[in-house]
Every structure is written in C-alpha cells, then in structure tokens.
Subunit: 227 residues, 6 copies
C-alpha cells in the first residue's frame, strides 16, 4: 500500500525538442508562461554561481539522513535527465557529493535539484555539475532505508512527476509538466518577444503607468495624489 | 494551460465508511499504517486545544493576500468535507475567520486545514469549528485574483487530491489517498490492536530491547557497553 | 544626534473614552476598520491563554541582553498604559519577569507587548498581567547600556508612537495612532454591527458568492467550472 | 575513535538531596543562581501545559529519523532520571511516543527533553509523562543506526553530561552540572529568599530606579529626560 | 483614515552634498556615527556581489503578491533616489525584475531596497542596477490593490521616511534621517579618521586591551586569569 | 561557581604536525573520518568566497551585543590559532570587524569561527582573514559584560574545547578533539586514498549499485522494480 520501496523504470519524458526550447528561457519567463504556477520555494539556491539546469526529471524520495536511493536513481538516469530529490521529512544532511556527481554525470545527468543538503561544493563547481539545494552541509548519510525512484514527489513545495521538465537558474526552479512542455515553451517564446519592445520604451523614459494604461484603474481604485 | 481559474464540481470522495473508520485512529497510527508517508510538515498546528478533524478534502489554491477562492470553495462543500487550502506562495495573512467558518459549517464542513493564517480564533473555538494552520494572524485579505478549487494541491509539503481523507489531531495532519482509505483504515486497526499488548509488557518493565529482540542486531552493528 | 539615551516624560495619550471603546473590539475588526494596516507580525503571541490588552503605549527601546530601560520606563507608566518594548537587534532573552510585572502593575500598567523574550510565565498568569511576546526564555539580562523611553519604535514590524492605542488578543496585536483612536473605534463599531446580519445569513446557508455578489466578477475574471 | 556506538553504564548522578532541592525552584531562578549560564535555547517547549521536570540526565545521541538508541537508553534509566536526547543533525521526526513513554515511566524516568519531535501528545498528557521538545510531529522513525547513550551531548545549545541535573518548566530548560548541584540549589534558595521583600516593595509602588539605586549610574551614562 | 491609497508628490530630500559625502563611508561606520541605530535587519542582502547604493528614499508600501505601486513609484523617482519598498505582510514574491529596473534606471534611480523578493537577478547585475532584498524568487505578482508611495514605512525593521538617506553595502542597509544627513556624514568622517591610527597600532601587535585601557575595568568586573 | 569571568591561559593545543596534516583534507572527509560527528550546523557560512581555515581553537564565550571578550581573547592567541566564538544567547550583532581582524592577524590567528554576526566583510576579504559566521550585520556592540576565554563552549551545535582543531571550508566547519587529531588525520588520508579509484570507476559508468554491492540488500529490504 505504501509508496515506498518502488522504482519505476519506464517513464514518459517530455519531448526532447520542447525541453531544448525551454532551456532558452529564464525561470521567471517560464513560470509566467505557465500562468504563474510551478515554482519551487525560494530557499532552493544554486550551490555555485552561474549554475543553470534544464532537463527531464528522474525523481527520488529519500529518507532523512539516508542516501541509499540516490544510487538506485543513478541507474535510471538517461542523457538529458535532472535528478529531483525530495525527502520524507525536513533534513539538511549532505546526501550528495562529488562521487555521486561523477556517477550521475557519467550517466548523462544535467544536474541535481534536492530538497536537502549537499557537500563537496568546490568539486561540483570544478566538474561543472550544477546543483540547486536547500543547504550545503558536510554531514554524511547512511544507506539503510528504502525510499522510491520515479514516483510523484513534492520537492520544495512543487509537485514533480518523473519526466517533467525542470528548469533552474539564479531566479529559482520551475517544473513544467511533461504534457505541457511544448505549449509552455511556445508561450515563453511569445512572452519574451514582447519584452524587447517594452524594455526599449521603459529605457526611453516611458512610464509603466502609461505603457500599461494604469492611470485610470488606479484612479478608479481610489489612489490619491497629495502634495 | 494554467491550472488557475478552475473549479472542479464532481469529485470522487473516499468511501464514507472508510472515512468514519479512519476517524477512530490517531494521525501517528494512520501515518504508520500507510508506510510512514502522507504527513504534512509539523508547522501545521491546531488553533485551539483539542481540535480534531476527519473528513474528505475539498481543495483550494489561494493567491497570497487573497481569499476569494474560499467563497468559491464554500459552494463545493458537502457534509463531511474538510477544506484544504494551499497558496501559490508563502503567506501568513488571515485568509479565514468566523464569517467563513459560519458558512462552511452551515454547508456541513468538518474543519479547515490551511497552509497560511487564520483569525477570530476565540470565535472558532466557541463555534467548535476545528482549524489547523501555519499561523494565526489578524491580517485581512482581498478578493481580486483567481486560484482554483478541487485541483491537486501541495499543502504543507503533502499532495492533497480532492476527495482524499484528511485526518488532523494534536500530533499533526495526515492525508490518505481516497483509493487507499479502506485499506489504511484496516491496517491502522490492526496496528492499534497490537499496541495494547506491547503497552502492557512495557508497563510491566519489559524492555523494548528484549520485546523487539534488538540486542543481537545492536551487537552486530557494533554497539559497545563500557563502565 | 542619536535617538538613544532619551526619556520623554510628557506624551499625548489617546483619548480615554476612545481607548475604552476600542477595547470592546477584536484585533481583526480594528485592523479592518483602519484599512488593513497597523498589525504587528504574527510571531507575537500571548504568553498565557486568554491574555488580552487594550491601553495607551509607553514605548521602550532596549539593547540586546539588557533590560535597564524597563526600569526607567516603569516611572513613566500611568494607569491605563501598555508598555511596548522594542530592541535594537533581534534578541530573545528574558527581559521581563514577575518582579518587573509587579512594579508595572503597581503603576497601573495593563500589560506588556515585547519584541523579545519574557520569563516567570506561570507567575504572570497568576498575577493576571497579560504579556504578548516573541519568545519565552528564562535567560536573564544585565543593566548596562542606555536605550530610550517614549520615542517612536518599531515593534514586530509596526511603528508605535508613545500614546498610541495598542490592542492585543489571540489574533495578534494592532496599533492605532492616537489621533485616529476615536475614528477607528467608530469604524470598528459600524463594521461589527454589519457582521451580525451577515453571520445569520451565512448560518442559514446563503453563500458568500451570492451575498457578496461575486458570481459576475468571478466569471469576468475567467473562472471556469468543470465536471 | 568515534563517539558513536557507545553505552556508558556507570554514570555519576548528582546528589539526590541536591536534585530534590533544585526541584523546588524555577528554571529562571536556577539559571540566575548559576551566573546566567546553562540554559537550552528557547525553542524547547513543553508538549502539554503544566509539564515540569527535575531529575538526573541519562543522555542519548540519536541519528536523524532513527530512534534505536531510545530503546538502548531505556535500560540505563534509574528512578529519578530524565532522558535528554540530542541528534547528530537537525531533525523534527517523532522519535518518541506513548509506547516508549510507558517503558521509560516503568523504569522510573521523570520525563524527556529532546532536541527533535515527539508524538502521541494527548496520551503523554494522560500518562502524566512530561516532555519538552523542539517539535510535535507524527512522523515515525526507524531502528537502523547506532548513536550513543551516556556520552556528553549538545541538546538545544547546552552541553549535558550524564548525571547532570535537568530542570524544565514553562520558562525553559536548564542544565546544572552534577558537581555544582548542591551549590546551585543553595544559591537559588538564597536568591529566592531575597525576592519576597523586593516584590513587596515594588507592589507598594517603589520604583526599581530607587530600590536598585539606578538613577545615578543612568545619569552618568548620559540619560536625558525631556518634556 | 487609512494610510493606503496615497501618493505624496513633494518630499523633502536630504541635502545632496550630504548624501554624496555619506556615500564615501561604509554602512558599519555610518551606523556607529549615528549612535548604533538605523540598521535594517541582517536578512537584507545584495542580490549580486559588489552591489552598493547611496541615495534618497522614495518609499513604497506594497500589498502581498502585488507590485502595482512600483509603477506608481516610478513616476516619483528623481535622479539620485533609491526606492525603498515595504509590504503590508511578509511575502517573498518577485515584485521586481529587469523591466521595472529599466524604468527605474531611466528615471535616475540608484537602486532598490525591498523587504520582499526580486527576480531577473542576472540581468540586474548586467545592468548594474543594485538591489538589496529579503529573497530572490521568480514568482510573479499582480496589479490589483492599492498601497502607497512616499509615506513612512517599516522596511526590514527600520523606519524609512521619504527623503531619508539610504546606504547599502555588503555589511547591510542603514537609514539616515534627512535632517541628520550632514551631521552623520561629518561624524562618520571623524570616526574614520581615527581608525587609521588604531589599525596601525593593532597591526604592530599592540593589544586592544592596552590601546583601549581595558585591563582595569576588566579586573574591576571580576575577570580572573587561571593557568 | 559560574563559568563566566574566566580566562584560561595555558591550554593544550593539538599536535602541530597533525594540524597541518588535517589542513590538507576537506571538512566532509574529516567528518567522515571521525565517524560522522563533530560538525557545526550548516548555517555557519564563509563570509567571502574561498575562505578556508585550519588551526587550533582559542575559545570565547560572548554576551549578546557585547564583544569585550574578543579583546581579552586576542592576548591568548598564538600563531596557528583559530578563534572560536560562542554566545550565551542567540544574537546576530556584528561582534567583529576589520580592527579586531587586524589585531588577531597580527597575533598570528588563522581565522575566526563565530556563532553570531560580523562586519567589514569587504575589508576582511582584502586582508585575507577568513571568517565563518552565522550572519553578516553592521550592528556594533558594547564592552560591558564578562564572558570567558578558553573554556569549553558550544558553537553552532558543536562542543569546542580550547586546543581542538577546527577546520572550515565551503562545506562547513568541523571540530577535531585535540587528542584525536593525529588519528583523524591518518583516517582522513586513508579515506581519501580510496576515493580516487572509486571516482575513476564511477566516471567510467560503473554504478554504485554494483561497486558497493547494493543490489542484494536492496532486494532484501523489499525494493520493487516496476515498468
């Protein structure tokens, strides 16, 4: 009955072309293109400056202080995947370091998003293996209890299903359901195409008040100017 | 494409008898019966002493500082439901007070579980309307932006689907998927029946070390007794 | 040049009748009557169940780990005052206990609101001296550094001027500027008079959707009902 | 080399009479009598109202998500002991519930102080088994990894050695080194004897400013009264 | 009666020469020169390395999840201003990104200090638009509810009046009341001139104990040296 | 009776050769070599990128908002020491800046580890004086109350005795008891020598599942693969 102790081998990954296209946009743009949903909480931060990820999710559910399932997950990684690790309770132990990163990278993983801690951060940067985590912590873990691989997980407040697209940059981490990948990529493209014109106007000194025609609704809402 | 702006009217609620049976067990027991999954984070606390809830979830996704969807949710409540409210970002405003509680109670709701703030706590206690929340906050909210009702939400780290069973007591809040309600209730019953015997032995001074036969595995793990 | 080391003796307290009138309303109602401003952050909690305060502020600015100014403040207390204590940096030491409470009570104080820690909580409850604080902590403090009394302070995110009305109940703490006390009390009264009627309708099963005429604006905003 | 995997059987407990004497004073008084040291952090709170503990420490070092060592500790408990549980990393899982409480109580334990979570809180209250913890959480734990029993631990920021006296009440938790128990108890007694007189004076309206002769040092520090 | 829905157009900015002079000192020095007051809480951090701001405050009071007022504020910006944004409740949504930064920069703003979240951090760095914030979060906001512009606000625990000088660097953010700008700048200059000599002595191995003549007061306070 | 007001002059420092050897390993490796104990909590972070420390501890116990004891500690520093500062209560004031750093550096200190705040961070980086702290905060402190130097302290959850080895890098801070320094250094060396071979295998695509022979225990624990 439990959702623990399961590894799902065959998962449906988002369309590769859609993933690549999503990789061209920032997290803020993608989240807006989805209608302002899909973000992880802002405590998820890159462990080194400049880290950026876009790929399809292999999900892992960990137990506190135990990274056994990370090794199970490694075997399920295909080129272009991102490992997304959640935990059954809040725990900032260092579930992941340079050895696992070496293994994940050898399997073709593009990075790790983990609702917990990681270590060997300098080595991760040298390897160019991007990680977004809740904490950096040298604390080691054991290998004793089952979790699961490739089930639906909640990572930093967001639901992630295996195969979803995960995009991470300095602004945060966003999850795009696999079935929506192409549509969201198209919407992001359209959204971005509008931004250049807006930016030029604002740079020229045009006010958002006028560009977005806000003066009338602000007055209707009761805004009062005083001297 | 967005999951916002949607109200699902027909949801499949967990079997009523299974819900009632689950209501006889504590949250800790149910969570163990599920294989140690399904709990919300421990920051979710009852707003008054003795609050306890068991019912089927009507879910709401709120926007920060905005409780418009709570009114939309009220119409979807049936007798025996629990409203489970999530928010698109972390926010502790007082989304809920005695007027909404009056409305929810009139519709047959058994309580509210909200990943945000509530107010009018004294009145909620007088009404006997149990609430589990992240915060108590007098801060009022507006009614301006769409969220959704009866979509899958993440509330305090747990996935809640409309119709799932939600049980809350002093130990926390647990979510039982609708399809598993009967099986979990049965497993909880079995689990509890074993506990009485254990309790009697422990009360008589038998050690868990002996009752659970732990001495050998502890020695195997390397435990050393020193004087 | 510094605002430290100052005690202002003559402060303008809010009108006594307005203060008494404000005391009849809950914090949530008063905050709504002010236009949804004036609340302290929700981490401010009563140290015992049932604590409630309404009075005029004598303000204190403390230094971390130092309660010297509390003794200076005691002399400035008049009957009906509430001491509101802020600190120059975040600190949860126990700045206040039963001896100071005895002194404050003897001077006519109605309670304490402190952005820090307090101790002797059982004794405070026995004395009936209500306190709202950030923390309960037995840690004692020293008497070595100057702060100020009766200057404008920021307490738990709210600006408090000496003489302002401070109301605290289970829902939180609200600050009403002295000059607005009567107007806010009147607005709170009006607001509450409307609530009875609404409550009756909601209790009878009328939906907020209909009572507040929300169906049309919801549809205009794009809300979709699905089955 | 590691301090894990050890159980120390013979510990030197503080003198029984000193422990009983310490039990007559509040945590704030004891901490002052020690020179303002020895307190745990203020996030340690009683899990039910009125909980109070005084006894000699049996210490436990737990691993995150694992309560195996609690069973090992049970055997080391003697009448009058308090179990003090620390964890190798921050973790709020429910390490302790009514079954372990039954066992601890049967062994003569006076309570539990744990830098983690506990569950079955209603049952703990019914049993009259006092617990001070960082969290209440229904989350169950496993029994797989060694920690230690009766080594020096850091619990909520305080060093606790086995045999030390631990006193807990609504104001917090204080640790008195075994060797200092009698001296601290005597100092607490002396301190308390002074308080009655002070309280009477303050209740009569005498200001701390005068009773403690603060006016001169305040003026020397530069305090200015303005109107 | 409410302080919401107001835009004050004519504000008195601190003297320009005093602002420029303050810009030559670090936040720690300015805060000391003010008598150790005026700092925001330490959770306010630069969003990119090397960010530094000094200018006069245009203040904004936002609603949670709503950045409408940022557009209203843009029109009030004059060259040399810093926008200081507070929120009516705690909220880490991304109220500000590269488009608003383009507009603010075009109006002559020197930066933003916001008690909330921002996004497009890489672009902000490329633009050289310094921002100090509580969080980085891609979460977008709506434009639906009135706040205010150029009223007194509490930002990260500090009172900011429009026209005050705001200085931000790696050590934090300090607010200098407009009327004190020149005096504080002079005091900061004097303070800094003393530091060079002290630094040279300390670098040469002179102890602070001797340089500040601390040995006697330490002995008087009871400090004991043991071997 | 109190542990405050004491300076211990003669402390036993860890063997210099062992300290130098420990300096060649990362914090994660050393912590593993100790059996996964000895780490400070992960909120301790370097104040500038690339900071790294290895040396013997001179310990300081501070009072909140007071850095008097830092000056007392300066005199006890010998070449190769690291100052480890704890505080009697949680406080993030800026206890340390460039002047004290100049003094510490002149005495031969290799860095500072402080469970509190520091300031002048840019200058610390220019000086090459590494600091690991809980916070960066410009807030100045006073010099009024005694703490102690070279007593056992709890810093960020870890017990530190004077003379212990403290190693800090991007992954955190670890404390090695002086008596274990050589043995831990040797164990770290051995551990690291094994890692190269493992890394090569993993880089070649060998799975941890096979390299660590996990498949059998995973199956025994009940792991199920589904398609």
């Amino acid at each position: 009955m439990s959702t623990l102790g399961i590894v799902k081998r065959n998962i449906v990954r988002a369309d590769a072309a859609a993933v690549e296209k999503l990789g061209r946009f920032g997290v803020a743009t993608i989240h807006e293109a989805m209608g302002r949903v899909g973000l992880m909480k802002p405590y998820m931060r890159p462990v080194y400056r400049g880290a950026r990820i876009c790929g399809t999710a292999v999900t892992v559910l960990l137990q506190p202080g135990d990274n056994w399932m990370m090794h199970v997950a490694a075997e399920q990684i295909q080129a272009g995947d991102v490992v997304v690790a959640a935990c059954t309770s809040e725990n900032e132990d260092g579930f992941f370091g340079d050895l696992l990163a070496t293994s994940f990278q050898a399997r073709g993983a593009r990075g790790l998003v983990i609702d917990g801690g990681v270590r060997d951060v300098d080595e991760l940067e040298r390897m160019g293996f991007p990680v977004f985590s809740k904490a950096i912590h040298a604390k080691g873990t054991i290998k004793a209890t089952l979790g699961s691989v490739n089930i639906a997980v909640v990572c930093a407040g967001a639901i992630v299903n295996p195969g979803d697209v995960v995009v991470a940059d300095v602004d945060g981490v966003v999850v795009v359901p696999a079935a929506l990948a192409q549509a969201v990529a198209d919407a992001a493209e359209k959204r971005e195409s509008f931004e250049g014109e807006k930016r030029a106007k604002l740079a020229a000194g045009v006010l958002g008040l006028d560009m977005y025609k806000m003066r009338e609704p602000l007055a209707a809402a009761g805004l009062k100017y005083i001297d």
